[in-house]
Symmetry: D2
Subunit: 307 residues, 4 copies
């Protein structure tokens, strides 16, 4: 199997559809992104890298950051993290508050917005917000092997300005005493993590440990235990695409996490860490071309966690 | 890795806990089962079989039957099946009707009761209920290599007598015109499939094709395509345990489907088909010892679809 | 105040709009009704009767029957009736099942379908369905002073044939053990009560006791106690129009109960019993012209229970 | 009918139960109130006043303030107010957010917290928060004939400190663009209106216009039109006690609005404005003794809007 050929074929098969879908426009910084961008990066455990298109161009990773925050928070708190956030698919959209009321301020999983906010709160823990965010950025720089990884100040400010729904979710959890830190402190980190800017290459590199039992194979650095690595992957599979997680598992068969900036991170355990990017979204808020590219790669490689 | 040793160790580690949990008592035939029963059967693609305890004793497979009905219905209708049943985890209990109202009579997935009922309706299709049920039993007999596989008349009648909730779900879908057949016809087959009686050995054998890309490796009989096999596995992973599917994926890491009779079927693609049985249920309605046994097996073998 | 003039003026003001709205078409017998029909009948405690248009023409009273069934069931069981049905507006459509799941098979009030079905079950009590239905018809004949009041066999059969949603609601309650009688027995009476045929004149006469502290002023026959009469009126006010009860109270200010056949019964305590009929419905399923006629009457008479 | 005797008898019949129920303790200022307080004030259109117990002692009127804010907001915006807040009972608790998601940020009615918050936003309109709050206080002082009516600074600050749920509701509405003013501006007024301090006598006086077609009978000052007065009364009847509005209508039969400080305001059109106060609450958050007192008064006077 020639992976570079598969990546090239996938890119070519979809390149004509660039611009399809609807670019997120709730903040100007995202709305201004060139809709025709399209990048693919596949990194394998042996350190090889296969790319196509705009794989080296940084974009706003948005909710994909939740995967890395989760990895750090699990390592910090162990299973106690799951006292304040569940492990079940929600069956609801990313920003729904309905379930939160029924279940007394405990979000269903760490990938819906409410769950990600409380996970960020636990990443901060009793530290300053600066220390917590620094830990996250340091990890990403180390794993991506690139010290320039950073967040976009404009995007972070825009997220905050338009963040009424996230504030509503956070105050709802505060009402049930679920947060260790003040709402605005937690959201300050949350909006910055959403504003992190990375390329497909950096993202695929940074998540390679998830395909390798928790260890970065190039440096031997153990990011998390094998058991926790599998648990993160299971959460990506069951909850990574909100109320479309089942369909993604059904059609693609990889663990995955999408972001509204048009990126999707996918993990095929023991095989590859994959990042795709195309700003146009489908109705469910997932990158239209990105999801198609992953389906193509699944079909061409024959990879699937389901057989 | 000596699988027989792992199975024996697992059995021994848990045997003292036999009788734990609460046996289903909504029908007499289930309530009378000996709570101390405990069986394990692991079948591998090369045809080897590893068992412990009451692995040869038949029990009521209940909702595990939904997996085989789904396999036949997908083969009969292809993706058109998913016009009347979704592919998303529901986040709700097995018998909830709330989602059905919001989504106009289309159940979230084929494993919650409503979804299983409409899947059975599509298995019947335009045939007689007898023909449809015969197809199911014939498949199970062939795959289990045992012509004595059958259903328990008492259990089927009890299911029907206590089936008010299932009737409510079925009439709700009929109201939206989702059923091809009359409610009582569909439920007649549904109650019989729930009353099917199989042993752990038979069940693990019968489901081996799901671990083998859709082919029964012993006979070479292709039960379904590779793509459909993966899709069935993905549905077991995301939806196989109702509102505890996420936790099962998180803790065990196998595709699985539980039944209220105390059985659990688990698939580890390319590795094994596993059936466990112990009648005592946990609060979520899954076999208490069965789920623990699968966790033990996952830990001792190191198997997981997540890495 | 010349009531006949007000009734005439109201009729004339709206007559040109006859045919507006959408006639219920879920059963043929209703769909075939002449959309241009429009009748008004006002009966006052002193026995005077003011009518206009098709006030003498019988129509299918449908859900308006729930008021009389409630009166009989309250008298039969007293406050114990409210162990199986609530007294709160539901905020949901007439046929919603969502609340029923959350509240374990106890409907919010006696006017949503589920609540009316369990009220009919309690009207039957331990009697035969024939005896129960006879009691209802006898009461209506006596109060309407017309022995020809009866139900339409075609409508009742059509209701039963298309009654999947009501069966779903009934089986749901049966699952929680809320019914004394078999589902089909209860629905047999329920479908017949919905098929009762009365004219505006008969309806207004029959309900006059609700405007007169529970006593039929013409015969002195006490139908129910003053306290229960007020309670029935309060339930009509808060729950009589499903999820539009608040708006009806806000805009009209009378106690009321609508039926999908285009009839509305309204009670102004101490002032009048009013029945209007026009088959065209608004989006909420209430008679379009009927609701407007009541608003006109409220404005022209100055009557309101709110001041 | 000797009203003073009825008020005295009611007071005596319940005085021994003083202290029953649970005093609100979510803020210290409320928790410290003497649980044994109990006051009754009845004011009739002819200006007579009948009191018993602690009728002259000021208490925190809390949600009762929503009635006066609604009166001012309806007068300011007319029916356009109901573009941003509904007129239907919600069937949900006072602080539920579930309905708000389903109905895109438009609260069901002006008396649940979300609806009261947006009503306060419309009271502010394009003015300063000071001007708006001054208008409210001025109205109360004028109607209560007492220039000392004011709000409690401690209570207002405590409300703000513990106001996470209200912030969540407000930000949720802001997310849908339903607010004219910033969340903290709106809540600043909202928390102050909840902290208003009035006695039973002042409250009954201030609300007398609602029993008199919108006119303060002692001064002839028309507070609102007859039509709007009736509409406010209808909203109190259908929505004044959250998910127990139906039961209050059923059992008491007056228009009413309760506050968590233990006060209840009740309107019997053309008959009386009534205020009762006892800090101990029932499970639904309504004054236990207060509700009983109103039921006693209803029974002893025979008053009811339902007959």
């Amino acid at each position: 199997m020639d992976l570079q050929e598969i990546v090239d074929d996938t890119y070519r098969a979809l390149a004509d559809s660039r611009g399809a879908g609807k670019v997120a426009d709730y903040i100007p910084a995202l709305a201004e992104v060139d809709a025709a961008k399209f990048g693919i990066a596949v990194v394998t455990p042996d350190g090889r890298r296969f790319t196509a298109g705009d794989a080296a161009e940084p974009f706003s990773i948005q909710s994909i950051s939740k995967v890395f925050v989760l990895a750090l928070a699990i390592d910090r708190h162990g299973d106690a993290l799951f006292d304040v956030v569940g492990r079940e698919p929600s069956g609801d959209p990313f920003n729904s508050i309905v379930q939160l009321e029924r279940e007394r301020g405990i979000p269903r999983n760490p990938f819906i917005n409410a769950g990600a906010i409380v996970t960020t709160d636990r990443l901060i823990d009793r530290r300053s917000d600066e220390d917590a965010f620094d830990e996250l950025v340091s990890l990403l720089r180390k794993l991506a092997r690139d010290d320039s990884v950073d967040y976009d100040r404009d995007v972070a400010q825009s997220e905050s300005r338009t963040g009424a729904r996230n504030r509503s979710l956070a105050y709802f959890m505060e009402d049930f005493g679920r947060l260790l830190n003040p709402v605005e402190t937690v959201l300050g980190v949350y909006f910055r993590q959403c504003a992190l800017t990375m390329s497909c290459e950096q993202l695929a590199e940074a998540a390679l440990f998830l395909a390798c039992d928790g260890v970065d194979p190039e440096t031997g650095h153990r990011v998390t235990t094998t058991a926790r690595c599998r648990r993160i992957n299971s959460l990506m599979l069951t909850c990574g695409h909100y109320d479309n997680s089942g369909q993604f598992a059904f059609e693609v068969g990889f663990c995955g996490k999408s972001g509204v900036g048009g990126g999707i991170l996918a993990i095929v355990p023991d095989r590859a860490s994959i990042a795709v990017w195309s700003p146009g979204l489908n109705r469910e808020g997932t990158s239209l071309l990105g999801a198609r590219a992953l389906r193509e790669i699944a079909e061409r490689t024959g990879w699937s966690i389901f057989g």
